[in-house]
């Protein structure tokens, strides 16, 4: 029971991370395309300014919780995905440095260098998180000791790349919507246009991914077992349609919230289908890591549950307060202030 609760919490934490950092990663990737000059780019940076750092902590928490609640999963997953994970970490380092250092010097080439790095540092994690999770859904060759028996290229299979593309497009639309919410005028129109344009390939890739999932993974097994769970992917599809409908009505705030719902449901679709597996072994099902054989002791799970149930809501409360404190659009006159990026 404790294991199942933690498995759900684990899935929800990843979903929260994807929702919150997803728009930063998506918008960061689109930065060179959406921002045509220094002022526009600075506006884009400042729409994410007070949020991106706090958002990134959800990744650290998701990682930490994997370590605390499912140490075997943490150990095997992170060592099997050694290279992609390192690339993600370096990308995130470069992104953070770009945010903080770009505005410190006025030079044009200095700034465009960091803009490119910010885009790269956002693009790479967006893509690779999808690749990683698709591989988790599909399974990887691990033995009974948790040793991974393949190389980096095994992880770059068609299904995983499709997963990567899905995450990337999800985040791009999410990020473009965020800018549409937080900006005005020509920048807002451009952001909305990008969201509309990218929405089409997103739907195509989502359909392809869902169909491919049927053949490549065992995710649908749980849905056959408990058909009511199909409400989750259904909700994802409806929310995706809502995104487009709100975009048409220029109600970007609602479109962004619908996009949050899409990301939540897509993540939960995978997580619920995966249960109770956390990392499927393609060598022998007996080697698979599950919520039960990878979990910490009941004592540790209980302590962590108390900590999580107290502190995660508190974190959500004060982060919510920060979002409301810095609500409203970023305008070019806001860039005059000393603290702006």
């Amino acid at each position: 029971m404790l294991e199942t609760i933690w498995f759900l919490l684990w899935g929800i934490l990843w979903a929260l991370y994807f929702i919150l950092d997803g728009f930063d990663l998506g918008l960061g990737t689109l930065l060179p395309f959406l921002g045509k000059n220094d002022t526009e780019r600075r506006i884009i940076y400042n729409t994410m300014g007070p949020f991106w750092d706090g958002n990134e902590v959800w990744l650290i928490t998701a990682g930490g919780v994997t370590f605390a609640a499912f140490p075997a999963t943490y150990a095997v997953l992170f060592s099997a995905f050694y290279s992609p994970l390192m690339i993600i970490l370096f990308a995130l380092i470069i992104r953070a440095a770009a945010f903080e250092l770009r505005g410190k010097l006025p030079g044009k080439s200095w700034r465009s260098l960091w803009d490119s790095l910010a885009a790269l540092g956002s693009f790479v994690p967006a893509l690779l998180f999808g690749v990683a999770f698709a591989n988790i859904f599909r399974g990887i060759p691990i033995d009974g000791e948790g040793i991974y028996h393949a190389d980096l290229f095994f992880l770059l299979n068609l299904y995983a790349l499709l997963g990567g593309l899905l995450f990337l497009l999800l985040f791009l639309v999410h990020g473009a919507l965020w800018l549409a919410v937080k900006s005005e005028g020509i920048l807002q129109q451009r952001a909305a246009r990008y969201a509309k344009t990218l929405w089409v390939p997103l739907v195509v890739v989502a359909v392809l991914f869902l169909a491919h999932t049927w053949f490549e993974t065992g995710l649908y097994y749980n849905y056959k077992l408990i058909p009511v769970l199909l409400l989750i992917p259904l909700c994802a599809v409806l929310a995706l349609l809502l995104v487009r409908a709100y975009l048409a009505h220029k109600t970007y705030g609602k479109a962004w919230f619908a996009s949050c719902l899409v990301i939540l449901c897509v993540t939960l679709f995978g997580v619920m289908g995966l249960y109770p597996n956390m990392l499927i072994s393609t060598m022998n099902p007996a080697y698979s890591l599950t919520a039960f054989n990878a979990a910490s002791s009941p004592g540790t799970l209980k302590i962590m549950l108390v900590v999580a149930l107290i502190f995660v809501p508190i974190v959500m409360l004060y982060q919510g307060w920060v979002y409301s404190l810095f609500r409203g659009k970023v305008r070019s006159e806001d860039l005059q202030s000393d603290e702006a990026y």
Binding site: I60, T61, A75
Partner: protein, 444 residues
């Protein structure tokens, strides 16, 4: 080169680099919080301008500290997966609690503070920097509790061949952890104090910005005098404790080979690990090690020869690092005390100011030496007396680790040089350019 060696090297590179930025995050956040509180109390706008200037330097430092911390957490999984799997039940929660309890608070409120100069009332804004300061110190506390558990594992049982957390309170409150926390935090404050005093000295030497840097200097001095004295006394207690908890490390600190009473220290020695003796030893002072460890000259101190050869740490680097760390620590107290007595005539003490300017890197080096003593002194164990480092490493290809190690060195070097160059630039620029927009705009 094997995976073990490469992984150790990578973790060392990542940790040393991370800890170039951590101390300032811990100490300067407090100093800025104190400056803003002084502004609230006195209403003197210069304190607010001071917080703003130091805050600019702080933010560059902060971000690099944050991002290099993430790679450390994840390296336990990527490079030390056998360790993570084996002790995750105890070690994992400590890192997870750090993230949920402290790191969120720190990372969220740093943005509130950085972007809130006009949006928030001065009171709430001061509260924000206090939250950052407190949260980053609590964050360090949990990380150090985790490290202390590796140094002195307590509070667990072995069930079915697997260590299981049994008593979290024991893990959190063990004296080893408390002493480590106090030592590390105080050392971080020394780094921050020297940083503030050194940068201030630069401007005082140039006779620019008037009282701005004299005041900053004074805040740094009070902070530094207290913490450098504290770190010395506390450091002694910490070292003495090792006699009971980590006898091998204790013996390596003073290159002590033969178990015996009236254990000596040497003014100078060169240890010979192979022969289990000192190849050169000069200036034997009997009884001092016994006094340091047990506060009586006749106390018996265990020598390295009574520890199996395979369980001895590399003596030379531990011994030299410890010596240099202690010497520098004493030097800091001396500098702080001298500066204290000259605090009223700083402008006429250019030589002292110049020494303080060039002393900025020294506490950083001292911290690195301290970590060398702590971590190398624990070898060959990853969890002292319980799990060997060689049993902890991930079953990954050496080529993977080699590539990531090169990437770490390249990316971190570029990042470190850029960050420090930008900090130095902002520091030299001084406050006037920064303060200008704040005064030209109406404060909310």
């Amino acid at each position: 080169m094997d995976v073990l060696f490469l992984s150790r090297l990578q973790f060392a590179v990542a940790t040393y680099f991370h800890f170039l930025f951590v101390p300032l995050t811990l100490g300067l956040s407090l100093i800025i919080a104190i400056m803003q509180s002084l502004h609230l109390k006195t209403g003197d706008e210069e304190y607010r301008a001071m917080a703003r200037f130091w805050g600019k330097l702080f933010l560059i430092n902060f971000v690099i500290g944050v991002v290099t911390g993430i790679t450390l957490e994840f390296q336990f999984g990527t490079n030390w997966s056998r360790y993570s799997r084996y002790v995750g039940d105890i070690f994992g929660p400590l890192l997870a609690i750090e993230a949920t309890v402290a790191f969120f608070l720190e990372s969220t409120f740093i943005a509130v503070w950085a972007f809130g100069w006009k949006k928030l009332s001065p009171k709430i804004h001061t509260l924000a920097i206090w939250l950052v300061a407190i949260a980053s110190n609590i964050s360090a506390l949990w990380i150090l509790i985790a490290n202390s558990w590796m140094q002195n594992p307590v509070g667990f049982l072995t069930k079915n061949g697997r260590p299981v957390l049994n008593d979290l309170v024991a893990v959190v409150t063990q004296p080893y952890a408390i002493l480590t926390i106090l030592h590390t935090l105080a050392a971080a404050y020394v780094v921050s104090a020297f940083f503030v005093m050194g940068v201030s000295a630069y401007h005082i030497l140039r006779k620019q910005h008037g009282s701005f840097f004299l005041r900053s200097f004074r805040v740094g001095l009070v902070f530094g005098l207290i913490s450098s004295l504290f770190v010395l006394v506390e450091g002694h207690m910490h070292a003495a404790m090792l006699a009971g908890t980590q006898p091998a490390k204790m013996a390596a600190l003073e290159t002590h080979w033969e178990t015996g009473t009236y254990a000596p220290v040497y003014i100078f020695a060169i240890p010979d690990q192979e022969q289990a003796r000192n190849s050169i030893q000069i200036g034997r002072i009997p009884g001092v090690l016994s006094i340091l460890a047990y506060h009586t000259p006749s106390a018996e101190v265990k020598g390295l020869r009574d520890i199996p050869k395979a369980h001895r740490p590399p003596v030379a680097p531990v011994f030299f690092s410890f010596r240099l760390m202690v010497t520098l620590g004493l030097l800091f107290v001396l500098l702080m005390v001298i500066t204290w007595f000259k605090r009223k005539s700083l402008e006429s003490s250019p030589r002292l100011l110049r020494i303080l300017l060039y002393a900025i890197p020294l506490p950083y080096i001292t911290c690195a030496l301290g970590w060398t003593v702590t971590e190398l002194g624990r070898q060959p164990w990853i969890v002292y007396g319980f799990m060997k480092t060689s049993d902890a490493v991930s079953p990954v290809a050496a080529s993977q680790v080699a590539v990531s190690l090169v990437a770490f060195i390249l990316v971190y070097s570029l990042l470190g040089i850029t960050a420090f160059a930008l900090m130095a630039r902002s520091a030299r620029q001084g406050p006037q350019r920064l303060a200008a927009p704040a005064t030209s705009r109406k404060e909310a």
